[in-house]
Symmetry: C2
Subunit: 320 residues, 2 copies
């Protein structure tokens, strides 16, 4: 059997027809971020309008994967098809490999109603912030209208990615304080729903009080959504139905209040800004290389010209 | 008396003639980084060829200011005129104010042979990396051929600025380990001379051994400069003459080996690259604003176009 390399458009057609390996290939193209990625992005953009993203974030060990797995189970019991993006900015592993601590998700690995995929940055920070919305639109385009986006930590990048979901679930544990101290403010800002997972342990009450206090202090507008605080034991499934109901309640509020449309519009503008910034960055690297660049830098070093005059000349085509 | 606002060129003439307030004004223009700064930069660039910079960096509390003050005293005893730039990336204070912990430097505040100036970022990280070399060239142009550049901490920015000196002195204390743990590697990389200050305290031997071991591990090329390790008690002046001799020895080595020319050439190229990057950044902000930008982002949000097509249109003048 000869294996012909399929074009992005061919892969997209196959993905629409239900070919999972084609979806995996397209996600790899998106991660790579080159011209093919742009083609995939354009195809998916035209087809994606219904998808809804639920972000799950929290400190490592909070039980996000187990909770995600429990949510998958709940959604599948209602015959809802979905996709899961596991985002790990620090991991060099990508390509759909299910990471070590996601063993529980393997329960669903053979279920065609679930598409699970890990994404990493490949060392490129800007990469994830552009690749994630593109991946979401692709999954939406192929008919997965619920997309769970799980991020592994509570660092700057994770919080940023998680905060770009339509509904963001922040997962903490009883006595959460220490593990996320550094980014409590960031988490408070993005949370639409709080989950105290591992609620069979001591300290649920205190943690709940702590969160409520922080919400009181955060000075929400009078008519705004106030993040509910739920307790779950993901490993037994306890509280998972309530969690999903809270997600649905937030979605309804966001849709009715116009907040969802507003957020999405804001995110798209941000994405466009990021695309422009990245392309200008590439342009800068182009400008700062080549023969004329070498000549000019030599002239600056020899004091035959000054840095600003040299920059003027290199930037002339751009400043026009 | 009417006070006419002087142009950068007039200020520069006055500064060349010895007007200290004109120097202060010019440094403020450089800090501000606008078109006037560029004019000052060009004027200074044409006049600056002899200046030599000595960077001093180390953890807060290591005694850099006291050491700088002692060095000033030593240089002045030889009737050498000099300038001091105190760089504080975290401080909102600028404009030549002598900061709180630089009280000792005030010993020299009335000496016309010393020009002391504090510089801060004004919240702009790229700012310092461009403003510092410009300030150095201005001070050089007005005849201060020795410029001490003191940075307050051992963070990324401080180490970067300090590492751009012709000779970099890294100041540690006996038992230094903990305070600079985070950036030991960065400090090892930029050090041309190590000083164990406050050497009247316990632990000088261990610290010296520690540093020697790290130098052994750092795998210097056979013919390279090996940073000497000196002990000082800046508050009494002990060891300061030896420190200066070490600086002179490093300068001689750097000049003879061609390393100085190489470093300066590298730094100028980096500076040019930074100028290009900053200007493209400004261009990006221009592009991402205005009427056409608003129209295009609205079209993206309304799905009348996709982000890449919108970016293509906005970037057309730049991609030409």
């Amino acid at each position: 059997m000869t294996r012909v390399k399929r074009s992005p458009a061919e892969l997209f057609e196959a993905a629409l027809a239900g070919d999972r390996s084609a979806v995996a290939r397209l996600l790899s193209l998106i991660e790579r971020g080159d011209d093919d990625a742009r083609t995939v992005g354009r195809l998916a953009y035209a087809h994606s309008t219904e998808g809804y993203t639920v972000g799950l974030t929290g400190a490592p060990g909070a039980g996000k994967s187990t909770l995600t797995s429990a949510l998958i189970g709940h959604l599948r019991s209602m015959e809802i098809e979905l996709a899961v993006l596991a985002i790990d900015p620090s991991s060099p592993f990508t390509g759909g490999a299910i990471l070590g601590d996601r063993v529980r998700m393997q329960d669903h690995a053979t279920d065609p109603g679930v598409f699970i995929r890990s994404m990493a940055t490949r060392g490129h920070l800007g990469g994830l912030s552009l690749a994630t919305p593109e991946a979401v639109r692709l999954l939406d385009a192929i008919g997965r209208h619920w997309i769970l986006v799980e991020t592994v930590g509570v660092g700057q990048v994770e919080v940023e990615v998680a905060g770009k979901a339509d509904t963001t679930v922040v997962v903490v544990n009883p006595g959460w304080g220490d593990s996320v101290q550094a980014n409590k403010a960031g988490l408070m800002e993005i949370a639409d729903v709080f989950v105290i997972n591992k609620a069979d342990r001591k300290g649920v009450e205190e943690t709940s009080r702590d969160l409520m206090q922080m919400l009181d202090l955060s000075d929400l507008p009078h008519d705004a959504w106030r993040p509910p605080i739920l307790a779950t034991v993901a490993s037994t499934g306890q509280g998972v139905v309530d969690l999903w109901d809270a997600v649905l309640a937030h979605r309804a509020h966001a849709e009715e209040s116009g907040q969802l449309a507003e957020r999405r519009s804001f995110r798209l503008r941000e994405e466009l800004r990021e695309i422009v910034a990245q392309r200008l960055g590439r342009r800068a690297r182009e400008i700062c290389s080549g023969e004329r660049w070498e000549e000019l830098t030599d002239a600056v070093v020899a004091r035959a010209t000054d840095p600003w005059t040299a920059a003027d000349e290199m930037l002339a085509p751009v400043d026009a």
